[in-house]
């Protein structure tokens, strides 16, 4: 029995090593005993953009925190290049739904927070932080405080901070949920230009969202969660060239496929 388990784990790891991030057989319950997930499996391949969708209350944010090691699954494990994730790590950075900056630190200091944990010298840290700010288009903002900036600019500071940690994976928790569509569209374009630029060390991105159009616009692979406890009820591969036009026929077909998974056919009771 024990031997089997060890063999199982070894196989899991070997399989997981092919992926950037791999969650295998995740079960999770809240403290009050409510079971949220049962046997959830998610794989993120090299340079893949993965999206997770599902009806509200299904636990998308919780799943993201399990992927990042913030929460421990009751069963199953999360692997980063085959190495099990047991606690949060700067290799996997969580981007919050709301924009998180520290108002008592300048833009540069905000970004340097990520660097000092890596035990680099102050000089190097500052240089790397300036680079990160430049990547997001914020040269000239080094000495400004978040309070002096608009939400969009703060978002860039937060992204720069995340990039400065040289993460392999970004976990994004509905980063545009609160914005009006116009602003969201603009930030989306900007942020994805940054994410897909060759300067970043990123190997994969996981996005949770309830905006299906957004998801089809961006993702390579879409996981659909449903049921209680939630499981992966469907997986849709998106193979459209970017930029994708939300008015095209192919786009709508994918949207339709997603809704199919969210509304399974009724089983008539006899």
């Amino acid at each position: 029995m024990d031997e089997d388990l060890i063999k199982d784990n070894a196989m899991q790891r070997a399989r997981a090593a092919q992926y950037v991030l791999s969650a295998v057989g995740i079960d999770f319950s809240y403290e009050n005993g409510y079971k949220v997930f049962e046997d959830v499996n998610i794989d993120v391949g090299q340079n893949e953009f993965v999206a997770i969708v599902g009806p509200s209350g299904i636990g998308k944010s919780t799943l993201l925190r399990i992927l990042g090691g913030f929460l421990k699954p009751d069963k199953g494990a999360v692997y980063l290049f085959g190495k099990q994730i047991k606690r949060p790590t700067p290799d996997i950075i969580l981007i919050h739904q709301s924009i998180v900056t520290f108002p008592w630190l300048t833009a540069l200091e905000n970004v340097m927070l990520s660097l000092k944990v890596r035990n680099v010298s102050d000089e190097e840290a500052e240089k790397a932080a300036r680079n990160a700010l430049e990547t997001v288009g914020l040269q000239g903002f080094e000495d400004l405080y978040p309070k002096e900036m608009s939400g969009g600019m703060r978002q860039r500071v937060a992204i720069a901070r995340a990039l400065a940690a040289s993460p392999l994976v970004f976990l994004m928790d509905e980063p545009f949920a609160h914005l009006d569509e116009l602003t969201a569209e603009g930030l989306r374009q900007d942020i994805y230009n940054i994410l897909f630029s060759p300067d970043t060390p990123l190997k994969g991105v996981v996005l949770v969202s309830h905006n299906l159009t957004e998801v089809v616009e961006l993702a390579d692979e879409i996981y659909v969660l449903n049921n209680v406890p939630a499981t992966v009820v469907g997986k849709v591969h998106v193979d459209l060239p970017r930029p994708r036009n939300p008015r095209s026929e192919e786009f709508n077909q994918i949207l339709d496929a997603l809704y199919n998974y969210l509304t399974p056919p009724k089983v008539r009771k006899i």
Partner: protein
Amino acid sequence: MNEILLITLAALATAGRVLGLILISIVTGWFLAYAAIKGKIFENIYISIIEVFESVPVISFFPIVLIIFVTRIGGPLGVEMAADFLVFTAVVWNIWMGEYQAFKTVPREMLEVAENYQMSFFTKMRRIFIPFSYPRIAANLFPSVSDGFFYITVSEVFSVGVHTYQTFGIGTVLDSLAASDKTGLIYMALLILAFVIIIIILGLREFSRYAVSRYTVDTDAPIIRRGRLNVKQTTRLLSVVARNPLSRLAGYYRSRVMSRPPEVFEKREMRREKISRYSSIAIGFTILGLIIYSSTDLIISVSHNEWNHLFSITPKILLYLLYDYARVGVILALSFVIAIFLGYYLAMHSRAEGIGVPIIQTLSAYPPPIYFPFIFGASFTAIHSVLGPFTDEFYVLALGFVSTFYYIFYSFWMGVKALPSEYFEVMKNLNMGYFRRMRSIILPGTFPYLISGISSTINSAWGGLMIGEYWPDIIPGRNLSVHYGLMKFIDIETNVGNIAMAAWGSFLFGIVVAIYSIIFTRRMMDLARKRYVAEEGVFAA
């Protein structure tokens, strides 16, 4: 058996005194706060007075209280009033301030509804203002109860010259039990008092839970404008942080744009507006007048010679004050360090927190002057063999510490609790070590809370020094006394009946402390408001 009944009654009398005075503070505070939001002049006077008195330790009122109540009114009534007044000045300021802030921040929509229905003064109070003030009152009750109990020993029994004045309460009973050396009954009294305090604390917790769940207004939802900057004013902020210096400042600086009464208002309405404005001006001037009258009265009653003597001794008084500031500094530093380690630990470990915080709350309400002599008696020999000549100094600092540690602990703990959860995730995500977390995030993020905690801590450290620096017969046959200290000076002058000297000392003390703390607190709070509001760091976009 009879003695136990007596002790219980005494504990209840003391609790009744404290709670009754708090109730009086609450009720008077409602009317004063209403007058304050209606009249600009009264508001300015009222707020400045509260600010000054809040920053002057209760204890510096003591000699003045003696003059007014004991020597002028006299009799058991005068003594009772003196005791009550001391406790009153300990509990009243933050309650008045809290109510004023609450009234000042009643949402404009609610006021417009009230105007729309032409509600009478009492309806407005009963339906809008008073309910709206409950959460802030609840938040201010804990410190008020602790402050109130702290002074019962000094306020229930005190001596001036050869006279000893006392009024019935646990302080008096303990005093007489100690004098007749009835150790068993003393422990019994301490136990009964602990029991009463625990019941009060549990009651307050219940009340504050109820007040917060029932009476806080969720102003979060409607004010978020997409894509624009909005400082979040969430329920959590308003309720947990009612003593937060920021909301306090917000109260000062937020000039609410009240809709001017339109032309169609009837004459009667206009007149009523005017009347309430005039009456608030009148109240303001009356209070100011009373203060000026009593101080000139006092100045005139002191002879020329005595004034000369008082002036000549002033440098010495200021030197003593310097000694005391050094003591306060030591107490503050110690409290600060412990508060930060303990507060952070408790805020991070919910199980330890569930046990630790109620214990600390109860301890903070349990007056150190009551139990301190027993600790002193039990540990004196051991401490003396180690510290030698510094033993007394050690005990004075220890008393100051136990009287004041809670404030800074509590503020810091609340500050950590109020930090956005996203901050903790970022710290975990970046694998920050303990000291990095503290330096870059936790300390700056709780800065506004720390400032308010520090100023309360400094404030009540004085109370501890007042009692500790000169404590004759702390245990039978032993005095606790320091070499130099202004508090000791005031104590001794009061004891020997030289009220003028004591009053002069406490007057100088009051001025220095008020100026210092207003300047210090104001500057720090301005800084805090400008940069250290953690809630602003999370932008809901």
